[in-house]
């Protein structure tokens, strides 16, 4: 998988950072990038409302509609056990658990020419990756569903790891920079160079 570009969106969906770290993707106009960012943000928000009717939300923040946290209700304890199972896997594998919060929304878009991955932090910042498409999906897809699925997960895991590294770099070189104002465009040579190192 080749990462063509990394975008960062603020809470309102504004494009605050853009880095075409590997060549291979054609350029759009500056305005098109803003529209692309805003559109992904909007589609993500709408898509989060889209779910099968039998879908039970696994958990609601702080017990959902009631503001006082409910501790021992049945829904709550069941949600915990669901969470725990995923957590344990991650800990056992020594892997970092992805706190990607858009569980019901959009996480990836796959096309013949490129893939898009979306990661949203608990604070509402979005990181977006534009990558090369996964060739296996389109060549072997119809032949062997099992391999196809594994390959998909592999690419997804890879994206997950890249997101983790970008997020840590962002928290180091953007958040600790006193000359950066939150929510504003990131113009930072040091961050640029660290992101480029990640892409290698």
């Amino acid at each position: 998988m080749k990462v063509y570009a990394i975008y960062i969106l603020n809470k309102a969906g504004g494009l605050i950072y853009q880095n075409d770290i590997n060549p291979g993707l054609n350029k759009l106009s500056a305005n098109d990038y803003l529209v692309l960012a805003g559109t992904i943000h909007g589609v993500h928000a709408i898509a989060s409302k889209l779910k099968p009717t039998e879908f039970e939300p696994s958990s609601k923040p702080f017990g959902g509609e009631k503001e006082i946290p409910i501790e021992s209700s049945a829904t709550f304890s069941s949600s915990i056990s669901v969470r725990d199972s995923t957590i344990n896997n991650d800990v056992v594998n020594g892997r970092w658990n992805n706190p990607n919060t858009n569980n019901t929304g959009l996480r990836s878009i796959e096309t013949d020419l490129f893939n898009v991955y979306v990661f949203q932090s608990l604070t509402g910042i979005k990181f977006i990756l534009i990558t090369s498409p996964n060739p296996i999906v389109h060549n072997v897809a119809s032949l062997n569903l099992k391999i196809n699925k594994g390959e998909l997960n592999r690419q997804f895991d890879l994206a997950k790891e890249i997101f983790h590294n970008i997020y840590v770099t962002y928290s180091d070189y953007v958040m600790k920079d006193p000359f950066y104002s939150l929510e504003m465009p990131i113009k930072n040579n040091l961050f640029d160079s660290k992101i480029r190192e990640l892409a290698k």
Partner: protein, 252 residues
């Protein structure tokens, strides 16, 4: 035979000697001429013992800084992030209340100055037990700052220590990767600003406290691989150089 005064060895002459009939001033206490008998608890002395008002002087709390060993056998460590976040906010707070880049650097320098004064004391106090030498020559003092003090604060020695060949009162300490400013990117429109001005203040505070009066400033001298490389320019006061001459001329 004239009457001889009994001289009690424990009582200075001029003070009236005690006799068997003397009672202690507070009705309580040892009377040497009575012996152990004087310590007997009587009704009145018991009263004093039970009813006196006191302030406890027994050490009960170990929270006071004076109860702890400053030599620091066990060093506490914390994340560099805590320092970086604090420093970032310090820069941004100083920035909000300063009139320009020079003013901002002065403020940072002032904050560092206090740290330098205290660090010098702390490091010297700890060092004393291993090394009784005191730096009285400028070069020795600079070497101390470059190595011992730097290590105490930042975990390792600074990279270079140099003397200017052109200007006789200028010295330079170089740090290839200054710890405090590690995550700070100076925007283009901030010109020559270097947030390590605070570290420059630390050096200045330490040098001044040691009697080597100097002015210290921080300057970015980046290389391709070390974008944060900083040179601390130390301009020593004239009087220090005169003293150096009296002590046998410049050292190398």
């Amino acid at each position: 035979m004239s009457e001889e005064e009994i001289i009690l060895p424990s009582i200075a002459s001029g003070v009236k000697s005690l006799t068997v009939n003397d009672r202690p001033m507070h009705e309580f206490g040892y009377n040497p001429s009575l012996g152990p008998h004087s310590n007997e608890i009587t009704e009145s002395s018991l009263n004093i013992l039970l009813n006196r008002k006191t302030i406890s002087l027994t050490p009960t709390s170990t929270h006071s800084i004076y109860d702890r060993n400053i030599l620091g056998t066990k060093k506490h460590e914390l994340s560099i992030s805590s320092l970086s976040f604090l420093f970032g906010e310090v820069v941004s707070w100083s920035h909000r209340s300063s009139k320009g880049i020079q003013d901002l650097e002065n403020r940072l320098n002032g904050l560092g100055y206090k740290i330098g004064q205290r660090t010098l004391e702390l490091v010297k106090l700890r060092e004393r037990f291993k090394n009784t030498k005191r730096e009285i020559r400028l070069v020795e003092m600079l070497q101390f700052i470059h190595s011992t003090l730097w290590k105490a604060l930042f975990g390792e020695s600074a990279n270079e220590l140099e003397r200017s060949q052109d200007i006789n009162n200028e010295y330079m300490i170089t740090d290839n990767c200054p710890l405090m400013a590690k995550f700070i990117n100076i925007p283009k429109d901030y010109g020559n600003l270097n947030c390590s001005a605070l570290t420059a203040g630390i050096i200045e505070g330490a040098l001044d406290s040691a009697g080597f009066y100097a002015h210290v400033s921080a300057h970015s001298v980046p290389t391709d691989y070390m974008p944060q490389r900083t040179v601390f320019l130390i301009k020593v006061e004239e009087e220090v150089l005169i003293r150096e001459d009296l002590r046998g001329g410049p050292m190398n």
